[in-house]
């Protein structure tokens, strides 16, 4: 419900909808995978992170937060000094880490209606474009929505932490595309060194990332099933070894085993000569 990933393909800044991976045009023009995907996302950030972000000073280039280009961001905070003008509404967003100026252009009645209900002292979620306007860092907001369920506030800050960890991990790995299913490993490592209290924190974070990577896990199940259902696989009486699955599908063995367990539970595959060889039940 609060996930920022639903905005992946619908930002107004995505250049006319040519960013889908099915378009060959996008493949030619796209920068390295991790960066290309990241600039289309809404990155959850705190005002503090924005204040420390790198920026070349050139109005056309993007901010860089923790090594990742951050063009569009999502934030949660309190509204202050809301000022209405003819063409826009501006306010300061205070998220407890700092205050940043936001501007919401009002072109259509939809825009006007959205900002009507926003008042000083209200908690809102702002989605917008991070930019420099007249020398100042600012958010050009394309969505300002009141927070109605206050779990959204703890969610947002945990989301910021989660995102920070993911980009830290992909920084360590160089330019390899960050796969959502590796988030579990990255989340539990830095927290293990803390006291006992932090281990429960890592489980809540991995629950969170578990939800986000749920679709990736299902995708993995399907990949394995598809591979086992290939004619070349079904022909083999003793089935396919899990290491072959890992190598061919380029998925880590632990992930393969997780999928295999759930596919076995559903009766879609079964083990053959030993616990490492599997065949599709179809």
């Amino acid at each position: 419900m609060f996930s920022s990933s639903q905005f992946d393909s619908s930002t107004p800044f995505s250049g006319g909808g040519f960013m889908s991976s099915q378009s060959t045009q996008a493949n030619d023009a796209a920068p390295s995978p991790a960066r290309g995907r990241q600039t289309n996302r809404l990155i959850p950030v705190t005002v503090k992170q924005i204040s420390e972000a790198d920026h070349s000073g050139d109005e056309k280039s993007n901010f860089v937060i923790n090594g990742v280009e951050a063009a569009n961001v999502t934030m949660v905070g309190m509204v202050f000094e809301k000022t209405e003008r003819n063409t826009d509404v501006s306010f300061f967003l205070d998220d407890g880490t700092g205050r940043i100026s936001c501007r919401r252009w009002v072109n259509e009645s939809f825009d006007a209606k959205e900002v009507e209900g926003i008042q000083d002292g209200m908690y809102v979620r702002v989605n917008g474009h991070l930019k420099i306007f007249q020398g100042n860092r600012q958010i050009g907001a394309f969505s300002v929505r009141p927070v109605t369920k206050f779990d959204e506030i703890s969610f947002h800050f945990i989301d910021c932490i989660h995102n920070h960890l993911q980009s830290s991990k992909s920084r360590q790995q160089g330019n390899s595309a960050t796969q959502p299913e590796t988030a579990d490993a990255s989340l539990s490592t830095p927290l293990r060194s803390g006291s006992n209290g932090y281990q429960t924190a890592s489980s809540s974070l991995s629950q969170l990332s578990g939800q986000i990577s749920f679709d990736a896990q299902k995708g993995c199940d399907q990949l394995i099933l598809d591979y086992l259902q290939l004619p070349s696989s079904s022909v083999k009486e003793k089935g396919i070894h899990r290491d072959e699955l890992s190598q061919q599908l380029k998925i880590p063995v632990e992930k393969i085993m997780e999928s295999i367990r759930s596919l076995e539970d559903e009766g879609l595959i079964y083990s053959t000569i030993d616990e490492f060889h599997f065949k599709s039940a179809a």
Binding site: T46, I100, Y123, N136, K149, F150, I161, Y198
Partner: protein, 116 residues
């Protein structure tokens, strides 16, 4: 901050509010904090609240009328057990205090630099 008569106020991180529970409050005496509390009782001029780590925090000031079960207070910690509230926000009658509490711990440890 005034520069040649023009106010440059793009962003300001000079007055953050640290996430605290009863245990962490003592680290921020005299400083600005924010805490989620469950209202236990109101005693004219102050509220006794249960923090997200099941401790007690006294909040001085006047809560919203009527207050919901859970309230977030932002203010200055004037002792290791109390906060002088500047802003009160009704957070409703049900919220995941466990999540908020873990956020308090994370925001005060490995990820403090993202907050204050």
């Amino acid at each position: 901050m005034l520069v040649y008569g023009k106010t440059t106020r793009d962003m300001d991180t000079s007055n953050p509010a640290a996430f605290v529970n009863a245990d962490l409050l003592r680290l921020y005496v005299g400083k600005r904090v924010r805490a989620l509390i469950q209202v236990v009782r109101s005693d004219g001029g102050s509220v006794v609240g249960k923090s997200t780590d099941d401790g007690q925090i006294i909040v001085k000031g006047n809560p919203p009328v009527p207050p919901t079960n859970f309230v977030e207070v932002i203010g200055v910690a004037d002792s290791d057990k109390s906060i002088r509230a500047e802003i009160w926000t009704n957070f409703g009658d049900a919220i995941d205090t466990h999540n908020y509490n873990q956020l308090c711990q994370l925001a005060n440890s490995d990820f403090k630099h993202l907050f204050i």
